[in-house]
């Protein structure tokens, strides 16, 4: 399963300044492992020491927040887009 991961600015140093990285995996947990192989060190920025997703990072699959889907177990298919977005923005 090949999915595109959009990398936010604060993490681009770990991704050779790339805005997108192609990863594999059939759910988000697997994609995070795949991302770590390509961008060593990035997983520690996204997950806490016990492996939970950090509370100020939001993940989207094809523009839908994973908390409205199945969280880390959200199934992914070829060509899906995973966005990593810092939670801190907005104010209407």
């Amino acid at each position: 399963m090949s999915v595109t991961v959009l990398i936010p600015t604060p993490l681009r140093k770990l991704a050779n300044e790339q805005a997108t990285v192609h990863c594999s995996g059939s759910n988000l947990t697997e994609v995070l492992d795949s991302l770590e192989e390509r961008c060593p060190g990035i997983k520690a920025r996204l997950c806490t020491e016990n492996g939970d997703l950090r509370r100020f990072v939001n993940f989207y699959v094809n523009s839908e927040d994973i908390r409205f889907l199945q969280g880390r177990d959200t199934p992914l298919k070829d060509g899906d887009e995973v966005s990593i977005v810092p939670a801190i923005a907005g104010g209407r």
Binding site: R45, R55, F56, S63, A87, I88, G91, R92
Partner: protein
């Protein structure tokens, strides 16, 4: 874009991550590189203490800039369009209706230049943007923030781009367009607009008031705390009721109170912080009631659009603050919000928007539940103006009496109006 180094005499020390404590210089960034936590301005409070007194503040400008040492700017040249120092009104009729002994209303419905509390945060954000060398400023907004950013950018001569969802009401678009910014109507909802803006900010080096300038922007809300303390005669209230959208305003009011204590300007005192949400978008109230310490995002469906943030950035901090101070986060239905708008208008002569209706309705609910004691000095924050959300209230505001231009027609209408009034009274529980 050039970065202005912090002057050593400035009270602003830089930015610090609220989660892990990592420090950063005072530049345009809002997210910690290590843990994604929010960055917050931090200050040299000894320096503030040394240069600030009640008297020096009282002798300052009649605007938020009288509290400049507490704000995240370093230069002398601030953008002062008279924002702030809005009325704090001792409520007589609403207080009596609710059974409260000491109720005050902070009325930001008449803030300048654009009639909402956003004038405060934008005045601070654009001042800092100019210090950091930005010539173009921007925001993602559905209304109040767009109005404030466009207006104050026009005053300051900054180039301005506003991103809005394409389906926004005509009145809000007009209230932005008139100041001459480029308005980009994005086909998508607010969350999508916001995410697009995160990308644009990186790409073009613009100052987005609610994204990369957010640590400066959000500090402007502290002035709502400073002003209330000064207007009460340099003391803190016992209880505050304020709207909760992202949770930023609500938490910054409290930060303002704490800074006044820290610098010796007011006596230390416990303040209970209560927050108001609309039931149709109440992720923080739901978490509060369920005893959760995390926020489950929701899809908004409420008339109170200006506070409909389904995924609130400062939600966990708002939750924590309500619990820590013995406050409550409560929510009210759209029907209660409309009643709240009418109640405030008809008891105090203040026409607020739906966010204000939400706050008044929650105030009423908390009093009815016995969660605000009659003798608590309570301040309710009204943050926006009703003329901006006319669609929401128009069907419920009542109708004119149409008459012919003669006395007989007038007398008939008067008789009829008085009869209807009497019928109304008979149905009203007093």
């Amino acid at each position: 874009m050039t970065q202005t180094p912090l002057r050593t005499t400035a009270t602003l020390k830089g930015l610090r991550c609220r989660e892990c404590g990592e420090q950063y210089p005072g530049e345009a960034r809002h997210v910690c590189e290590f843990c994604f936590g929010p960055l917050e301005a931090h200050y040299d409070y000894e320096a503030i203490r040394g240069c600030t007194s009640r008297r020096s503040i009282e002798a300052g400008p009649r605007s938020i800039w009288r509290y400049r040492p507490f704000l995240p700017v370093v230069g002398e040249r601030v953008i002062d369009v008279g924002t702030g120092l809005t009325p704090l009104i001792r409520s007589e009729r609403l207080a009596r209706r609710l059974g409260l002994g000491a109720l005050y209303i902070k009325n930001d419905a008449v803030n300048v230049p654009s009639l909402s509390f956003k004038d405060r945060v934008v005045s601070v954000a654009l001042t800092r943007a100019r210090e950091l060398g930005f010539t173009t400023v921007s925001c993602a907004s559905t209304g109040n923030l767009a109005n404030a950013t466009a207006a104050i950018a026009a005053h300051a001569g900054l180039e301005c781009y506003i991103f809005i969802p394409a389906d926004l009401e005509a009145g809000k678009v007009l209230g932005t367009l008139i100041y001459g910014p480029q308005v980009l109507a994005v086909e998508g909802n607010y969350d999508q607009v916001n995410r697009l803006c995160s990308e644009v900010a990186d790409r073009h080096g613009w100052g987005f008031v609610n994204i990369n300038l957010r640590p400066y922007y959000s500090e402007g809300s502290k002035t709502l705390g400073f002003e209330v303390a000064e207007q009460l005669g340099w003391r803190l209230p016992d209880h505050v009721v304020a709207p909760v959208a992202s949770g930023s305003l609500y938490t910054k009011i409290f930060k303002g109170f704490q800074e006044l204590i820290k610098t010796g300007l007011v006596e230390e005192q416990a303040v209970r912080m209560s927050g108001a949400q609309a039931t149709g978008c109440s992720p923080v109230a739901q978490a509060f009631k369920a005893g959760r310490d995390f926020i489950a995002p929701v899809k908004p469906a409420t008339v109170a659009k200006s506070i409909a943030i389904g995924n609130p950035a400062d939600g966990v901090y708002a939750l924590d603050l309500a619990r820590r101070t013995g406050g409550h986060i409560e929510d009210v239905t759209d029907a209660e919000i409309i009643e709240g708008i009418k109640l405030l208008a008809q008891t105090e002569g203040i026409f607020t928007e739906t966010a204000g209706g939400t706050t008044v309705a929650v105030l009423k609910k908390l009093v009815e539940q016995g969660k605000i004691a009659p003798d608590e000095l309570t301040v309710v924050y009204i943050t926006g103006n009703g003329l901006k959300t006319q669609e929401a209230i128009a069907p419920y505001a009542g109708e004119t009496l149409k008459i012919e231009a003669n006395l007989a027609s007038f007398e008939r209408a008067l008789e009829r109006a008085r009869t209807l009034d009497r019928l109304d009274w008979q149905q009203t529980l007093i």
